[in-house]
Symmetry: C2
Subunit: 301 residues, 2 copies
Amino acid sequence: MSLLVTGSIGIDTVKTPYGVSEECLGGSSVYFSMAASFFTPVRFVGVIGPDCPFDLAEVFAGRDVDLTGLEVRRQSKTFRWKGSYHDNMNDRRTDYIELNVLAEAPPTVPAEYKDSEFVFLANTAPALQIQLLQQVQDPFFVAADTMDCWIKDELDDLKQLLNKIDCLIINDGEARMLADVHNLIKAAEKILDMGPTVVIIKKGESGSMVCKAGGERFILPAYPASEVKDPTGAGDSFAGGFMGYLAQAGKTDFDSLKTAVAFGTVAASFTIADFSLAGLTSISKTDIDSRFETLREVTHF
Amino acid sequence: MSLLVTGSIGIDTVKTPYGVSEECLGGSSVYFSMAASFFTPVRFVGVIGPDCPFDLAEVFAGRDVDLTGLEVRRQSKTFRWKGSYHDNMNDRRTDYIELNVLAEAPPTVPAEYKDSEFVFLANTAPALQIQLLQQVQDPFFVAADTMDCWIKDELDDLKQLLNKIDCLIINDGEARMLADVHNLIKAAEKILDMGPTVVIIKKGESGSMVCKAGGERFILPAYPASEVKDPTGAGDSFAGGFMGYLAQAGKTDFDSLKTAVAFGTVAASFTIADFSLAGLTSISKTDIDSRFETLREVTHF
């Protein structure tokens, strides 16, 4: 089934204990699409300014990523982000941010994308996520990401969004903040009460948890990676692997959700092994499938 | 096969966001034995003073725990500990500690225990752990726990101990400290180089990881508990379920280690649901087996 992503394209500068990557390609829709394209064609929606040094057609060459929804906004500038990771690679600091196009009106979803069945709304203001979603006619499964600033400052909009989506993908800290409870099982249950039928809580190097309305649960550790160079994009790659697999399978029963989360985990494990997109562009679907089997092996008893 | 535990018996006062438990029974060998006794007979070694208000024979009534190794040291006093857990239930503070018998010579292992095949050396000074171990003739599988203060202050003794045991069970923070590396896979590999053939790293609410010399790995999330009242004793209950299952199975191949870690995880999940030993004393082996099946269900894909 068709898969649409809306999200950012960024010029990132990232510093980790393993080095610095200056002005490299980043952004949620870029990581998402790269990961999802291993599974299914992707319809890409995002905005850049004319200053963007990256040719996305070249970046995605040989992958089934439709860039009809890529808008170059002549009067604007591309989103820029500079961040540093501390020694433990879990905490990161934003050193500098220039929203540029992200502070403007959202892009238009092209007419030929309006029948998209699977939709991922990457993190942005929930009001914009709603506007983007309204441009899709009758999606089968909609997932969204959000972050702490929207929970704090745009909670009403976020609650409206939660009533319009099927699945929220969120960090542990954000889940606790949104649900106002520390225990993650309880937090997931409270978020399910807000609207979505599926909540996925990402716990960084501790893996992820899926809770579905009705009580079904799944818990998966992170892939045991001994090399972590740059965690940037891990969450969006996770979402890309997750949604990519679901769109390919064309179903969202609980067994499919579990498999999808395992593929998301694997996609993220490749992303963090190198800077920018290098961890994903250097591998094939066979590498993903092989690591999926390893993940099964090291978690089953 | 026979299972011996050496460890502490404590008079604990514990404060958590859910209440206070004043002068309740605690201690590593007590939690360990209670958990292990669901699987196999336990040979108990520990010391109390005449001030101990608990009748351990009554505490373990109906369970196959041999108290021949319980020493009441007339001139001494029982170990006392007072601690508080913060809201997130992961960080705890020691408010007060009285080592008493634990600061003295270790107990004697009774002659009839000397042929023990499985041995668990609960946390204490590594020199004392070595002395205790030397009293056992030819054990088949020895596991030990340790903590930050011994890594910092008694590293030489600890390294000697590591060369005499098969399995180290350790917290994530302690593993990082001992191996002097942040990544837990690398930390486990460095610890394996120090002597044991198996390292189990406990990550609290994020579960645990098993690494065996030769590259075998297993990762298991914690049981998804929505009720956590008092985490005290979780680690020792984990070790009890783990060693109890292994001694019952009489083997330590990697599949058995995986199953044992799952039973340890389940035992710990019951312990943390209530204060002191109430979470373990209120259940039956059927409850453990049923939760073991649930754990399998929520982790397999």
